[in-house]
């Protein structure tokens, strides 16, 4: 009786170890389902064609995201999120903490590289039409991840509490105020008051290290699951022209790792030769210095808003500009539904937007006559 009860309530006995199988492998096989995972990895294959190189951008973005997570956690050990101590804590990291300079510089350079790679990934996916059915939600989660990357950049820029970041955040948090009806409330919520202050720093810190990472983890998980679910998209132009493929593990992964190692080398070189500058501590009572600019990926919007006239059809130009950028973001999310059949029209529209953004960015980077260098 007791024997029967014991056998019915317990898990099946572990399979005996195969000849030559290590104890660790057998342990992982029985408890973690290692063999199922290995089988899944072995089964996953990556098509090989002339656009395969663009597949590496997703892996590179993921790798740089993980670099940001790792270096960000290390920075948390010393960073103090208050207007009185933030600048000094970063200064301490840069001067006195062993390898603090390396971690901070990699985090700052990595952030820029990450945003750049995410942009490149999005552009390649767009032009290869990888958003077509059934990958609409993969596209949507990807665009949301881009927005989150921009959010990380915007919130992280203020954290060292230096002059440039302070005034750039002032300008940046003024932008949502242009949204009709809720704009001013939104701006106040972002700032934690009527102006950029220690309260803004506290909430940007919370957003940067807790809220955005939590949301990103969820959306990134969904994005990766969807990529796994639908497999790699093969562009129509090469569809059926090749049946060649390589295994994801280890062939594609090894190629990925070549890129990741190169990225680590690039980040290390940038950190060693061009340590990320800290600048001067923010003084809220000082006049705004000349040459205030946001990070490079916001420059096109910043410059675009500058060129708008004060009023367009009686509506403030900046309000229309902000609404236009909002519509552009919504349009980007809706691309799979705006172009469900992969027509050429949307490509032309995208090229126009990209060219305009590139021109505006270059114009913003050109020196303004009579303006001192920041």
């Amino acid at each position: 009786m007791s024997e029967a009860k014991r056998s019915s309530s317990s898990a099946p006995d572990p399979a005996p170890r195969a000849p030559g199988e290590s104890r660790l492998h057998a342990w992982a096989r029985d408890r973690l389902g290692w063999d199922d995972l290995a089988h899944l990895a072995a089964k996953k294959r990556v098509p090989v064609h002339r656009y395969t190189i663009f597949y590496y951008l997703g892996g590179m973005a993921l790798f740089l995201f993980l670099v940001q997570v790792a270096t960000g956690i290390l920075l948390l050990l010393y960073y103090r999120p208050s207007a009185a101590e933030a600048f000094e804590s970063v200064q301490y990291m840069m001067a006195d903490v062993p390898f603090g300079w390396l971690i901070r510089s990699i985090h700052s350079w990595g952030a820029n590289l990450f945003v750049g790679v995410v942009f490149a990934h999005l552009i390649s996916v767009f032009f290869l039409k990888a958003y077509l059915a059934p990958r609409e939600m993969t596209w949507v989660t990807g665009v949301l991840l881009l927005f989150l990357a921009l959010g990380f950049g915007f919130s992280g820029y203020l954290l060292p509490w230096n002059t440039l970041a302070f005034f750039a955040t002032k300008v940046g948090t003024d932008v949502p105020a242009q949204i009709p009806v809720i704009g001013h409330l939104l701006s106040r919520i972002m700032r934690g008051g009527s102006d950029v202050s220690g309260a803004t720093l506290s909430r940007f810190y919370g957003i940067h290290v807790a809220i955005l990472p939590a949301i990103s983890t969820l959306i990134l998980g969904a994005h990766l699951l969807l990529v796994q679910r639908h497999g790699m998209s093969v562009p129509r132009s090469v569809e059926g022209k090749t049946r060649r493929s390589i295994s994801f593990v280890p062939d594609f992964l090894m190629r990925d790792m070549v890129g990741w190692l190169a990225a680590v080398g690039l980040l290390a070189a940038l950190a060693a030769f061009f340590p990320w500058e800290l600048g001067v501590k923010a003084d809220p009572f000082a006049p705004a210095p000349a040459g205030i600019r946001p990070e490079w990926y916001f420059l096109w919007m910043f410059q675009g808003l500058k060129y708008l006239p004060a009023k367009i059809f009686g509506i403030p130009g900046e309000t229309l500009g902000v609404l236009f950028f909002g519509a552009l973001g919504a349009g980007l999310l809706a691309v799979p539904w705006l172009d469900p059949r992969g027509k050429r029209g949307i490509v032309v529209a995208a090229l126009v937007v990209l060219a305009a953004a590139a021109i505006l960015t270059v114009l913003a980077l050109l020196p303004v006559p009579g303006e001192a260098k920041p």
Binding site: Q91, M94, R243, R244, I246, D251, M254, L261, A268, F273
Partner: protein, 424 residues
Amino acid sequence: MRGFVVLLLLSLATPEAGGQAPPKPPPAINGCVDCHTALEDPRITPPAKLFADDVHAKAGFTCVFCHGGDGRQEDQEKAHDPAKGFIGKPKPREIPELCGKCHSDAALMKQYDPSQRIDQLAEYRTSGHGKALARGDTTVAECANCHGAHGIQPVKDSRSPVSPTKIAQTCNHCHGNAALMAAHQLPSDPYEKWSRSVHYRARVEKADLSAPTCNSCHGNHGAVPPEVGSVANVCGTCHVTFADQFKLSPHWEPFKEMGLPGCVACHENHEIVKPTEAFLADGAESKCSSCHEADSKGARAAAEMHSDLVGLDREIRRATQLADRAAEAGMEVSKVRFDLVAATNALTKARADVHLFRPSAVHAAVAEGLKVARGAATGGEARLKERDFRRRGLFISLGLILLSIAALVVRIRERERSTREPAE
């Protein structure tokens, strides 16, 4: 019609006092201006026009308060009646007393500007200008020469010739006139010399109005050249520490005995240039060697102070260069810069202590600065070593990364050869 308006206005006016008694609350009508403006005589019309913007006119004073006569009369003879105190254009010798009539009257001045001094006339009488005028020399400055006669503005008004930014040029009108100054046996180059001084650079080029101009040292209404014995006091009104130190120095008594003009003996009076360590050394710029013979006790003390100051200055420059090089490489050098500020402050103090003319005092301040400057230099060197360490570390890391990439590429090739699927 014009005459009717004047009469109407005059009929509304209160009776005016003559030119002598202290004025009562001023009337609002000034008939003199109407005639003098209408006559369009280049001799009398411009003053009448200027008077409209005069501080006195704005306070309600009229021509008769200074010139006497009767401003209510349309007829020139009646208006210019000497019986009513008409004096016409006051003579230079009369002007100080004329202005002092009101400006020395405490009760009157309180009604218009309670903070205004009332000792200008008394001061003027003690001035070089006032004494010369009293002797009958009318080529010297009286009130109107500096303040203007009819368009007088408050001193704080930038249009006034005696406003803080214009007073030096106003003094230079006469004191830069070579012929006039030769007649008074005075140099005509004080403005030119002052314009090469540190004071001019601070005041004019850096717009620092606390830097001295002519009246800061010479006084304004009581303007005189500072006496030999009072030079240190005059300079000491701003350079308090230097003056105190100088009075404690071994130079104080001998300077007094020899009649040497204190600060001016080394620093000049108008052309006060930025002092350097070279003042203490042998050479063209030397100040000490003009009194102290080579190898004398004084010359040795000067050489000792010179050596100390130059040593600290050199160490600060070295540390600054190190900090700059480290900063250019992107190193964090704020602590080094902080120490450099402290070292520079010590150098400033040591330079000030020169006025004690005791090498031990300078040496103590220099020793303090040297300690900090050497610390800063060590900090700068450490940052440069750290930069080199980073670069060495980077090259080793890059080597390892390249090796890993090479190994991966070899492995990828191997697998390509062994697992390549047949192309369709």
